[in-house]
């Protein structure tokens, strides 16, 4: 099922209630759907649109801006291989070819068993550790072809299950705001005073 499941719908309603405008919950809900399905499905976008009372086009328009939302079936592990300057100088291209050969797929696609998606990426902000890659956004530094093969073997054998959760998984600790601690969502249209941190000098005052 690619719509949000029942427990996620309950969670979605809780998230929506945190915002003065339902629409503000759009991105958290897209995250939630990606956690559930590993990628953002069309059905999920329709479902989110229903939940926050916008059109599916609005959900798609917003979500498609973000690189980390994926709209195609994605493996349990998403491997992003950096190809920007430092990594390129230290053999990123060869490493990508090697990875394609090892996995038997072209960059941008997913292994037939649905385990690994391989793709080219831009700078991962670890240029001193080139060439780098990320598995579900967890860095691996100074990667050699042998390291890559070992990584794939470990992923396949499940040895990294504790370290790397499946693609789309959000933080293990979800924010909980008890009702009595919530600031209280005020609709922007209802705001009459300035923000609390701006001191408003009354007219004619000191």
């Amino acid at each position: 099922m690619s719509r949000l499941n029942d427990s996620n719908v309950a969670l979605a309603r809780e998230i929506i209630a945190r915002y003065p405008k339902q629409k503000s919950a759009l991105i958290p809900l897209v995250h939630l759907s990606q956690q559930q399905n590993g990628y953002v499905t069309e059905e999920a976008m329709r479902h989110i649109a229903e939940l926050i009372n916008v059109t599916p086009a609005e959900v798609y328009g917003t979500a498609s801006f973000y690189e980390m939302f994926r709209f195609e079936p994605t493996g349990k592990y998403l491997i992003n291989m950096c190809g920007t300057l430092s990594c390129a100088l230290l053999g990123a291209k060869q490493l990508l070819h090697h990875a394609e050969h090892t996995l038997g797929i072209k960059a941008g696609s997913t292994t037939p068993d649905g385990l690994i998606t391989l793709q080219h990426a831009e700078c991962q902000a670890a240029c001193t550790e080139a060439p780098t890659l990320q598995v579900n956004y967890r860095h691996r530094f100074r990667v050699t072809p042998a390291d890559f093969d070992q990584l794939v073997d470990d992923l396949r054998a499940g040895k990294l299950d504790n370290e790397i959760p499946p693609h789309g998984t959000l933080g293990r600790n979800r924010q909980q705001i008890p009702a009595d601690r919530a600031v209280g969502a005020q609709h922007p249209d209802d705001v009459t005073s300035g923000p609390a941190w701006i001191e408003i000098v009354p007219a004619g005052g000191e």
Binding site: E42, A57, V59, Y60, G61, T62
Partner: protein, 804 residues
């Protein structure tokens, strides 16, 4: 210089000034802001943008994304000008900066020009420059402004962007993405004006493009407007794509008569063929009707005029069916039929011009036709027009709009746009009474659901609610009144309108009657004298075999009357039927004599919209075949019958209307041709008193709601290829919970049984429908829902029988 004026004048001034010493200094206009524009002192209005002020002053600043009817977004950066607010000149987008006192604006300095040229060079980087094959070439703001404000040449030598050409955003609108300059006009229109947010920018960033959600087309009733406001050739409309070059087009202003809103349009043709209609905006201060917008039905149904199915010669019934005949023999036959008839009914007249309606009313008076009606039992009594009338502007500026009538989005789409705008961007609060969710429901302040057959007691109770009463008392009130449900009798609908008027006596009324010139026809003599002579009475008379001749003036009762069974029996029961129409319909097929009539854009004349605004219809193309305008047919028939109506040209008729109909006294040709038209409102009289019968509970499970969709089986829709696929088809729509209770899958056929008949229709689950009711769209392909509607009962109750 101050010493110069002669003493007399100064003395006089002094005398006045002595009495009112202080008051002579005029109060500064609080809304005026003095700014300097290109060295000239001008007075701008508080809160407006520099570009709007410059437009009014005739200083053109190049722009793509700015549109005066939508909010400014500063997407294209083309309108860069130098603005000095005291800190020295700076480049600023003039559509995003509001005027401030003492602001100095320069639009033509070398710096401003360099910015404008730079932006144009940037916009042209990925623009394909395929102008020779682009439909927009010749009328393209990008092309024009590149010539007037562009750099002349580009430094870009790299490969341009390519996309798959074209992709369909909807049934009508095609998108060539490589031409798009991302001005946000179409997406803003969909969001701000139409409220159908079905197109969005996707993949924002380097690959930004306009797109729909996969498999969810831009199926807005207003999609054609995006093509009109696209400043490049990215959006094209299927009916016009590759049909003509702009410099080959001839155009004339006219008024759309697809519904009674009366949108100002321009009609474009080439080589005597209609090619496209566009909305006309006469300006932010002066346009009081459509603001340049149109609905897709009005924009594209001209295809039916050119479709090749038109009636071009008179037809007469013979043993071989309808066969061609000459005008002379047809007129002679008509004379015999009219002379030989002791009772005649005249239905219709709302399709065409004021002149056609007036001439036919004159003819009807001359030969003594007692039964006449421009509506077909699907509207409201013509007395509604005697109640003090509101204009669209007044409705859109009113504090409160009470809506007791049809779904405006389906029947009067541009009125819906105006009221939606009033509710969203203005301060108008809409109180809607409806049996199901409508297009305006999400914008209504209160949307009151009621069972079909709303009683006056319920209305009075609702309007007496303290919050609602306070809102109504807070300012002016406009009642938009029409027929929301054709399975409920006219008397019941009228009683609801009356209940509102007695609760809010100072309310003015905007009649939500649908047909193009229905208000004109009713005001010019085609209104029934009483309920015993209206359309339903006429049809009943004919069905009973007591009518010698039924004249259908552009009317198709079989498809348009809410009691189809009655209409069928009436046409079969009338001894003779004469039909005057543009296109063949089910009713013309059964006529004994058919006169071909001139269609829209084939005749000059005037039309009256629902406000009573008289505006001009202009001819653009030659009349099809030997068809003639309605007024001419009436005039010729009159002369063969021995009456002279005294008309030899359309202008004679227009003049006769102004001379003889008091409401139209000021509707002289010059006044009509002015930008705003003339208001012709015949007030006085007021509503007849109707006995409202409270609908009683019955043994049936559901109460029926029958209302129109924008696209139905109307000939102008079915004979326009672009629109023909859009009607949703007949069905019985139920609330999902009721649908579950029936226990049949979506689309399964069931039998609806009422006291007067039964019909088999597919089930549709629909959450806009209220529980305990069935909603069925009127006049759709498939089984006819009106078979189970009896026009003589207050409401229609039905039960559902499973076929299996």
């Amino acid at each position: 210089m101050s010493d110069e004026p002669d003493n007399d004048l100064t003395n006089e001034d002094d005398l006045v000034a002595a009495d009112t010493a202080v008051e002579t200094i005029p109060e500064p206009d609080p809304n005026a802001v003095a700014i300097t524009l290109n060295g000239r002192e001008i007075v701008a209005r508080k809160g407006e943008t520099i570009i709007a002020a410059a437009d009014r002053e005739g200083e053109y600043i190049p722009r793509f994304c700015y549109h005066p009817r939508m909010s400014s977004v500063g997407m294209c950066r083309q309108c860069m000008v130098e603005v000095d607010t005291g800190r020295g000149p700076m480049l600023q987008p003039s559509c995003m900066i509001t005027v401030l006192p003492e602001m100095k604006v320069e639009t033509n300095t070398p710096m401003a020009k360099r910015a404008q040229e730079g932006i144009l060079e940037l916009l042209l980087i990925n623009h394909p420059l395929d102008c020779p094959v682009c439909d927009k070439g010749g009328e393209c703001p990008l092309q024009d402004q590149t010539l007037s404000h562009g750099p002349g040449e580009s430094r870009f030598v790299e490969e341009k962007r390519h996309y798959e050409k074209p992709i369909a955003l909807s049934e009508h609108v095609l998108l060539d993405r490589e031409r798009c300059i991302l001005c946000d006009r179409c997406t803003r229109f969909a969001d701000e004006v139409a409220g159908d947010k079905l197109i969005q920018f996707i993949e924002r960033g380097n690959a930004t493009q306009v797109s729909t959600f996969p498999d969810e087309p831009f199926s807005s009733y207003f999609s054609g407007n995006t093509v009109q406001i696209c400043p490049v050739g990215a959006l094209t409309a299927k009916p016009y794509r590759f049909k003509a070059r702009p410099w080959d087009l001839e155009q004339v202003e006219s008024t759309c008569t697809s519904c009674s809103v009366g949108c100002r349009i321009s009609v474009h043709s080439s080589r005597d063929e209609l090619l496209r209609f566009q909305g006309v905006d006469t300006g932010a201060d002066s346009d009081s009707v459509n603001w340049g917008w149109m609905c897709d039905r009005g924009r594209f149904n001209f295809e039916s005029i050119e479709a090749g199915h038109r009636l071009g010669v008179p037809l007469v019934r013979s043993e071989a069916g309808l066969v061609d005949t000459s005008w002379n023999s047809a007129l002679e036959l008509a004379r015999q039929l009219i002379d030989g008839a002791s009772s005649i009914g005249l239905l219709g007249g709302a399709r065409g011009t004021n002149e056609g309606a007036f001439a036919w009313a004159q003819l009807a008076d001359a030969v003594g036709i007692a039964h006449r009606d421009a509506q077909l039992g699907d509207g409201l009594s013509a007395e509604l027009l005697g109640v003090p009338r509101a204009t669209i502007n007044q409705a859109a500026a009113a504090n409160t709009v009470i809506l007791v009538g049809p779904d405006l989005k389906e029947e009067l789409p541009v009125l819906y746009l105006r009221l939606r705008d009033a509710a969203v961007h203005g301060h108008t609060k809409i109180i809607e009474f409806s049996s199901q969710s409508t297009g305006i429901t999400r914008y209504a302040w209160r949307s009151i659901r009621h069972a079909p057959g709303l009683g006056p007691v319920e209305i009075a109770k609702t309007l007496a609610d303290p919050t609602i009463a306070a809102q109504i008392a807070s300012g002016d009130v406009v009642l938009v009144a029409g027929r929301s449900n054709m399975a409920v009798s006219e008397a019941t609908a009228l009683a609801a309108v009356q209940a509102v008027l007695s609760a809010v006596p100072n309310a003015t009324v905007l009649p939500a009657l649908r047909r193009g010139n229905v208000v004109g026809a009713l005001q010019l003599g085609l209104a029934p004298v009483d309920v015993d002579h209206d359309a339903l009475a006429t049809l009943r008379l004919a069905a009973a075999g007591h009518l010698d001749l039924l004249v259908l003036l552009g009317a198709d009762p079989i498809n348009d009357c809410p009691d189809a069974d009655l209409a069928r029996r009436a046409i079969a029961g009338a001894r003779h039927v004469i039909s005057i129409d543009t296109l063949p319909s089910e009713s013309t097929q059964q006529a004994d004599l058919v006169f071909p009539a001139a269609a829209f854009a084939e005749q000059r004349g005037t039309t009256t919209n629902l406000e009573g605004r008289v505006s001009r219809l202009n001819q653009k193309v030659t009349v099809h075949g030997t068809a003639r305008p309605d007024w001419m047919i009436a005039s010729e028939l009159a002369s063969v019958l021995g009456h002279d109506l005294g008309f030899t040209s359309i202008d004679d008729v227009t003049a006769a209307i102004a001379a003889t109909v008091p409401a139209y006294a000021s509707a002289t040709p010059t006044a009509i041709d002015s930008a705003d038209g003339v208001l012709a409102v015949n007030t006085g009289g007021g509503l007849p008193s109707v006995e409202a019968t409270e609908a009683q509970p019955s043994g049936y499970d559901y109460r029926l709601v029958v209302s129109r969709k924008l696209y139905d089986r109307a000939v102008s829709t079915t004979m326009s290829p672009s629109l023909a696929k859009l009607p949703i088809g007949a069905g019985a729509h139920l609330h999902p919970a009721d649908h579950d209770r029936v226990g049949e899958p979506d689309g399964a056929e069931v039998r609806l049984v009422s006291a007067s008949g039964s019909v088999v229709l597919p089930l549709v689950s629909d959450d806009t429908v209220q529980r305990g009711t069935i909603w069925a769209p009127f006049n759709q392909a498939g089984a006819d829902i009106t078979d189970i509607v009896d026009s003589s009962t207050a409401v229609t109750d039905v039960r559902i029988e499973r076929l299996t």
